[in-house]
């Protein structure tokens, strides 16, 4: 067999394919499609399961096709919102601040759960010797994702106020990437202690997915504003209105809505505004996560 002719053919084939794929680009964000994503604060499969009924509801309410894209990186959601690859995103308090900065202040938070207005984080451990934040000195510690509000920023801020610097005072700092992963880390002894969002902790306890004889909460943060649903600033105001109304209309007495709200762990959705997140922005500056 003659290799040079083989190679020439291979080259032609590859070029043809590259061209073909460049020409047949799918249209981005056609009008009738609403692209949605969420920060991966839990396993992406879990996020998809949680979103399915909400997606159907939003489809019915807006008359648009709703496409949910799971991702495994917090920053990718912020970047996608900024580059208009998605229209609606479930963001944490800190990722919202990042999105606001990266979109020059145009991203609009529309609604949040009632619970998000006074959110907390739980410090957990499986080590009997750890009874207070001060006992964490010299231990290994697991945060969630670096840009998580309840798994990284606010705990860091409150640790700082308690006189602890994670980089200096802890033996090793790890980022588990997600709240449920933090529980797995601490349960397995991969880290001596960790911190996660109160809502996910309660859910895992209710579902008996965590052995509470072994892993216990030893500190809780003061409350702060967290999660919201945010749209990109240049989305059609009519669609924004429809989306906002759809969320606010959700009523736990309606059995269909109840399922959605239970999966979202919401008792009620309330309107929110940018100003709610100013304290998060300040905390991020003082914790050194924003420059």
């Amino acid at each position: 067999m003659t290799l040079s002719s083989l190679r020439r053919c291979a080259l032609k084939g590859a070029l043809a394919c590259a061209l073909a794929s460049a020409l047949s680009v799918p249209a981005i964000a056609a009008d009738a499609v609403l692209r949605v994503s969420a920060i991966p604060d839990e396993a992406p499969t879990e996020l998809q399961r949680k979103f399915a009924p909400l997606g159907k509801y939003l489809e019915a309410q807006t008359g648009m096709k709703v496409l949910f894209t799971p991702v495994s990186d917090y920053a990718a959601v912020v970047e996608s919102l900024a580059t208009r690859k998605i229209d609606l995103a479930w963001l944490g308090g800190f990722t919202f601040v990042q999105a606001k900065i990266r979109t020059n202040g145009t991203a609009i938070p529309i609604v949040q759960r009632e619970e998000d207005a006074k959110f907390t984080s739980k410090f957990i451990t499986a080590d009997p010797a750890i009874k207070s934040l001060a006992d964490l000195k010299g231990k290994t510690f697991a945060f969630g994702a670096p840009s998580s509000t309840s798994g990284s920023l606010m705990p860091r801020f409150f640790l700082q106020q308690a006189g602890l610097n994670p980089e200096k005072d802890f033996k090793n700092v790890a980022f588990s990437g997600a709240h449920d992963a933090t529980v797995a880390f601490v349960t397995a002894g991969k880290a001596d202690a960790g911190v996660l969002n109160a809502s996910v902790w309660d859910k895992l306890v209710e579902a008996r997915k965590v052995d509470t004889d072994k892993v216990r909460v030893f500190a809780t943060t003061p409350p702060y504003f967290d999660y919201n649903w945010t749209v990109r600033g240049d989305l059609d105001p009519l669609i924004v209105k429809k989306l906002t109304d759809a969320f606010l209309k959700l009523d736990p007495k309606n059995p269909e809505h109840a399922e959605i709200m239970q999966l979202q762990r919401a008792s009620k959705f309330i309107p929110t505004k940018k100003e709610n997140y100013e304290s998060i922005e300040k905390a991020a500056h003082s914790a050194g996560l924003l420059k």
Partner: protein, 516 residues
Amino acid sequence: MNDTNRDPAARGRLIGVLTALIILWPLFQAAQVQPGALFDPGNLKVIGNFLAAFLPPEAGHEFLGYLGIATMETLAIATAGMVLAFLLAVPLAYLATAAGREKSALNPFTRGLLTILRGIPELVWALVFVRVFGLGPAAGVLALGLTYGGMLAKVYAEIFESVDAMPARALRHGGANRVLAILYGLLPQASKELASYTVYRWECAIRASVVMGFVGAGGLGQLMDQAMKMLNGGEAASILLAFMVLVFSADGLSGWLRRAIDIPPSGRASPFGWRSLLVVLSLIGGITASFSLLELGFGELFTEDAARGISEFIVGFFPPDFSATWLARVGQGVWETLAISIVGTLLAAAVGLLLALPRSRAPFSFLLNTLRSVPELVWATITALAVGLGPFAGALALALHTAGVLGRLYAEALANAPQQPALALRLSGAGSSRAFLYGTLPGAAPQLIAYTLYRWEMNIRMAAILGFVGAGGLGQLLYFELSLFHYAQASTVIIAMLALSIAVDQSSAWLRQRMR
């Protein structure tokens, strides 16, 4: 012990060992080596539980569906990435190589570019591209394309330089231009080696595309990352099995292809036999399928919006943060990364040598193959359970994977070492261990050391990224800063990674030269 039995080189060897220990001690400190943690009963129980959960592997319908898609995606990312790498490598190799030039003038600019492309690990490119192109496998394809483009170009250039230059020179003297001289004077000699290396790289690309999933570039790695983070043993086992099947079949396929190249051409003067036709068709089919499966929107890269986004993103990296406090943090990361790579490689060399020694090879070959086929990032998840998070877990993970690689190479080198010195020692009455130490080992040592140093060059790149799973060093720093959009700081870390890998390449080359 009387004088005749004494090793005449004993004093020199002792001094050498002591010096090495004094130099290595701080590195072991930096890597936080605590062998005791390995045998802590609590830790052993945790690992036991995790590994016990591997059985039975998850075989749920829904999960197998995900697994199938992810496997196809990994294969497609590797293939599409190689196509891109090939398209990039051909012109770059043409520019970089001295082949076919009248004077052997190297092209320092292209060579420098190739060093940068190769020096930054594909995982770092992937992490950066995930930000630019957002969701999906495009990031993985581009990252592979760039790194492997750099590698292919360098090796292509060297292959062209290593074959007989006379035919090309004759063509040029006869008036042919450089392109024609290379095509008709050099390509026929080099084609076999070029094709063989390209196929080998495709196999490597499959492994690499799994690893890139760990930063969100899709495929099997992304699933593996989830399963490992959640310590879901059953899922991890299924994914690992799928991965091994993929790697072994790629291994087999590439072996078959490389052997097929050696089949002499048939007597009939036909450019296409059924075999080459089959290869060409499956190549085109595979590439087309890969691109269509991934739905790569490369067109999006060339819109005005995308251009603005990319340029804004790149501008964010300049100027890098060279403030004293940040440089001190990065310096610490560099030291830790260096320690992980050196401790990991040394442990691997020791374990590899032990596993290479026994005469009955079969069980040990199996063990070595198993060690080798599990990627370092996966080992790191397991070693982190064994010794807790931190640099030691990273060094152990490197050691386990590398021991598999080195053990195999060592066994071959020892088998190929000259047998006469050991035989002579045995005949004059020496025991088998002495015959090995003074007869076989000195003959094989240069080869063993060369392999070890070569692996160290690869391990420094891997050590730099092990931090993504909590093993400390530069990787963790980079992941953290990129997550927070601190691009100026991330830029310093990437520069440090590049400088470190170049410095290790240089010192390893220098050491190999000294050892000769």
